[in-house]
Amino acid sequence: MSQFAILAASFMGREGCGNDRTGLRPWPAEVSGPLERGELEALRWSTLFDSETSRFGRMDMLSRLGLMAVELLDAGFETLEAARRDEVGVCVETRSGCTATDDLFLQMPLASTFAYTLPSTVLGEICIRHRFRGPVLCLLPVSGQGGSVETALGWLNRGEAGACVCVSCDLMDKRFAASMLSPHDAPSGGWQSCAVLIGRRTGARRGQPWRPEPLPRLARLLVGLGGDARGAEQNSSSLW
């Protein structure tokens, strides 16, 4: 049996949001309509969290989604001592990348937007908020191969990290996708974000054995989307 386990998992998408303890909860009424329509501007930090973040308002949507998924883990990172933060690795995977932000930058070029025209900027925001200084990687999955969970397990097995946060976040406008890609290649459009924290088994109550599933599916299963997760992923939130 692997010495590593999933210590926490979170998911957010059109269906709602939650983590492995809370299960999936519906969005508050005031944002459910806009989020169903993909109007992510309606999603504020205060919609879900009481904590403070001065940076959220300046971030692009992809970074907001990734940062919120990590916060939803409710893993108590704020109590982690500094030396441990140096051992927390962060691996991001994103199929859409920052194409929405690239499009925005070309329509209205601003220095504040340019900083977010990299798929990995979300990783920087996560590390800044939680002071993580462990190993990092940002993967753009090819042919359905994700890789962030496998990357994290590699870091853990080789002793390169003490714990890893894996994040999958995507945001794709259907019309943009249709304008850039052939019907065969174009994703259906949509958004979702999820995260898992993987670390050494310690007998912790939240420990879940690792399963060889792509991260979005794994997170869905762990927050209780259960048996229909595979179908739900394909029907409502699959971006590719």
């Binding site: 939680h130 990092v136 050494r200």
Partner: protein, 437 residues
């Protein structure tokens, strides 16, 4: 160590502290390289420039007069573009594919035993080298590819916004994963294909991923390719950040005033050491980190980059004093170069090994930087030469004084360290070991 308890039900235990280089682990070597830069196509031109310390930065006529802070950079010469487009008209408006494909062809041509049909205009094309025994001896399913890029075919999005015509293939390659998949398909690579996009450390982390594919026995031959373009998109962004030096970058210079962008592609072929007959440059260690400090600026104390270097050295099982040469990021911005100086002192103390920057050779090529600069390390090792720092006039007295202004013969160049840093506070280091000389 005791676990550090965090939230109810969640605890994070300490990681391993020992050297992570396992006895008997597979040795991964750089078997070949391919390159397209401002200096032209092929390693011969790059070697000449390294030996002569001759930079390839010029003003770019196709982007001049648009109000950018500077259009001086490392852009691929028009005659190279012409030859690549003539050879592959189907990708004529897909420049990122053309560059990456050319670098990959060069790397295949450079493999032991010969190579595939090289890119037109390259020395390999003139010598007529053909498909190699190493390439052919590896089944397609055991060949892998890792692509490193920050913006891929960003010019396709620029064209779409301007409502200019563009091909379907160019628009498709706006998505880097699809560019990686198409490169793999074009070169009969049916094994694992990955795409890494993590700012200016993409290249080094792509090499790391390629080495892992071999170390973990998922592939026998892996092509790692880095590519990025000299585009309106990137030039306008760096103009807004006021980060470009109108006179061309001067890394580690007392009067440095910003960076120079570049375009190009670099490719290395990674293989098991025992698949090669001649002395090789081994990839022995890697490490990465985040500053957790700032999105577009480096940490002021260099501690994040120092962490990445320590991790790479630990993985390689090498002490800092054993390093003979460091190839630095050296962008020419005030903050980056100062940060690197501090990071080098933090790791090496008073005995910082000789170090240089190659940004004055071909500019800052973003997703290709880690690949092209690792190829400079390969050239340095093969020729037992410590490269200089083109563009440097008057070294900053605040940075370590082992800075190499001009190339000089090395007494013994065996262990090398390559470092990069980038937006989002990311840092990476790669430890290399030369078997010959």
């Amino acid at each position: 160590m005791d676990p550090a308890v965090t939230a109810p039900g969640v605890s994070i235990a300490a990681g391993g502290g020992e050297s992570s280089r396992r006895p008997g682990a597979t040795s991964v070597a750089i078997a070949a390289s391919g390159e397209v830069t401002a200096l032209g196509l092929g390693r011969e031109r790059l070697e000449q420039a390294v030996r002569a310390n001759a930079g390839g930065l010029r003003d770019c006529p196709r982007l001049a007069g648009k109000g950018y802070q500077s259009t001086v950079g490392g852009y691929v010469p028009d005659e190279v573009w012409r030859s690549l487009r003539e050879r592959d008209p189907a990708h004529a408006d897909a420049p990122a594919f053309l560059l990456a494909d050319a670098a990959l062809r060069e790397a295949r041509a450079d493999l032991p035993g010969g190579g595939c049909q090289a890119a037109p205009g390259s020395p390999n094309a003139r010598t007529g080298r053909r498909d190699s025994s190493l390439f052919d001896s590896v089944p397609a399913s055991r060949r892998g590819l890792v692509l490193s890029t920050t913006k891929a075919e960003i010019t396709a999005l620029e064209s779409a916004i301007r409502r200019q015509p563009g091909s379907e293939v160019a628009r498709r390659h706006l998505f880097p994963a699809l560019l990686a998949a198409d490169l793999g398909a074009a070169h009969d690579i049916a094994g694992p294909v990955q795409c890494v996009s993590i700012a200016c450390v993409s290249g080094l982390l792509a090499i790391q991923q390629g080495a892992l594919l071999i170390e973990e026995d998922k592939a026998d031959l892996v092509f790692v390719i880095g590519v990025d373009l000299f585009s309106d998109f990137v030039l306008s962004g760096f103009t807004m950040l006021r980060s470009l030096d109108p006179g061309g970058c001067r890394p580690f210079d007392a009067g440095r005033n910003g960076l120079s962008l570049g375009e190009g592609a670099g490719a290395v072929a990674l293989a098991r050491r025992d698949a090669l007959a001649s002395p090789a440059l081994l990839v022995t260690g890697w490490g990465s980190s985040n500053d957790a400090n700032h999105l577009t600026g480096p940490s002021r104390d260099g501690s994040g980059l120092a962490l990445a270097m320590h991790r790479a050295l630990k993985k390689a099982g090498v002490a800092p004093r054993a390093i003979d040469f460091v190839h630095a990021h050296g962008t020419g911005t005030s903050y980056n170069d100062a940060m690197e100086g501090l990071a080098l002192r933090s790791v090496f103390g008073a005995e910082v090994p000789p170090y240089c920057s190659s940004k004055g050779l071909f500019g800052h090529t973003l997703g290709a930087a880690g690949l092209l600069e690792t190829i400079v390390c390969l050239i340095a090792a093969r020729q037992q030469l410590l490269p200089g720092t083109p563009g440097l006039r008057s070294p900053d007295p605040a940075v370590p004084d082992s800075l190499l202004q001009k190339p000089r013969p090395a007494r013994s160049l065996r262990r090398l360290l390559k470092i990069n840093a980038g937006f989002g506070g990311v840092n990476a280091a790669l430890a290399l070991e030369w078997e010959g000389g």
